[in-house]
Structure formats: structure tokens, C-alpha cells
Amino acid sequence: MQVELVRDRIDTQAITDRLKVGEDGAVTVFDGIVRNNTRGRQTLYLDYTAHESMALREMGELADEAIARFGVRDVAMVHRLGRLEIGETSILIAVASAHRGVTFAACRWLIDTLKKQVPIWKQEFFVDGAVWAPGEPFPAELQVVSSHGTP
């Protein structure tokens, strides 16, 4: 199981090559890449920051849960931090197993869950300034403040 936060270019080929073993028949890979536009505005670049120790722990727990829940053999999850240019990979998730169905399901679940609860934030830089991406709402059980506004 490879779970990492990195600051350099993510090498998809090396990660998937390292993941595969003889009994695998399928690897499904999700490659999240920096788009040239955000909500209709032209993006110059992005900057990702994380609560690093916590993000690593959360990612490791998600990988464990994916293996247990979907019965896949192994998972690699690598997120890049710092400044990323258009077209670069921000997140790579690779899931290997003997059969393909579970690799698709686990990979999809991992990216969907990561985007809701792994503490990583994205700042978007435009020609006329920067904004923090709005983010996905936390699952209700993680959000501290009740909807009427008092903790």
C-alpha cells in the first residue's frame, strides 16, 4: 500500500508498475488533473496545501477501508501539494485486483471519499487574483457546527 503526499511530478507509470503483482488481472487508475478553467474563469495555476500528518492518516485509513470493503488486493494513493500547472496530475489513485469490477468500484469510492474528507485545500490563481476553492461540504458526521449555527 502506497499512500503519499509529494511536491514533485507524480509518475503514474512508476506507481502503477510498483503496484502490480502476478495475480492481478486489472488495475483501474484515476488521474485527477489541473484544468485550464474553473467555474468558467481561466486558471493560471493551482496551489494545494494540506494538514499533512492528518491527510496521510486519513488517506491510509481510506486505503485500508477500500481493501476491506471491496476486497481489492492493493491501493496506491498519491496527492501532490504546492504549485501545480495546467495539465499536471494532482491526485493519482490506482487499485489492483484479480478482477476488474471491484477495481472500478473501489477507485471511484476512494476519489469520491477523498474529496469530502481528506484535509487538503486548493487555492486557484487567476489573472486577476486568487480564491480558495469552495470545497465539498463535509459529511454531516464530521461537521462540527449544527445547521442552525451554534456549536
Binding site: 496545501t49 494538514h51 492528518m54 492518516r57 484535509p119 485545500w121 469552495p134 463535509f138 456549536p151
Partner: protein, 100 residues
């Protein structure tokens, strides 16, 4: 007697980390030397009173204590690391179009 009921009667020392949009207002972190409250909810109320202008953001946060998501009722301890977390936006470039 008060000291027996609460080891930190004069407040406890906390390391508070800020992330995402909260960094624009509070910086990366601060050390609270004598936080007078007891729970995660108390700490959130404290910062909310400092920056009420952040408004709806306060209703969307999660809090981690020592790298674990924490409930509002969690009792804080001396030297805890508390992180205030706005909705996360890691992963791919494809955020659904909802209001910021």
C-alpha cells in the same frame, strides 16, 4: 477547590492550526496560552466571536484534535493540537458547481 475540579482553571495551552480560507484571516497557526473554555465547541465560539464577518463559513467547518476529526462536545486537553478545517477541496480539478 476550583483547581481540583479543573486542572486548567486558568485556561489551557493549545496549538491552533488554520487551513484554507481561514489562513487569510488567522495565519497558519497560533498558540493559545490560557484558553478559558473546555470543549471543541467552546473553541469554535471563541474564534467565531473574533471573526464574525466570516459568517456562513462557521457553519461549514470541521475540527480535528490531534489529527482526528472531533465532535463539538470533545473535551480539550493541555497541549492539544486543534485544527480548524473549512470544506476540503483536494483531489482533481473538477469541483461541482455549487455556491462558494
Amino acid at each position: 477547590m476550583a483547581a481540583c475540579q479543573n486542572r486548567y482553571a486558568y485556561g489551557m495551552r493549545l496549538r491552533v492550526l488554520f487551513f484554507g480560507v481561514l489562513r487569510d484571516r488567522f495565519g497558519q497557526e497560533e498558540q493559545l496560552q490560557q484558553f478559558p473554555g473546555h470543549t471543541v465547541a467552546d473553541l469554535l465560539r471563541y474564534y467565531r466571536a473574533v471573526a464574525p464577518e466570516l459568517d456562513q463559513l462557521w457553519g461549514t467547518l470541521a475540527v480535528a484534535v490531534n489529527q482526528q476529526y472531533a465532535a463539538a462536545s470533545l473535551q480539550l486537553q493541555q497541549d492539544d493540537e486543534v485544527a480548524l478545517l473549512p470544506p476540503v477541496s483536494g483531489g482533481a480539478g473538477c469541483v461541482r458547481k455549487h455556491a462558494g
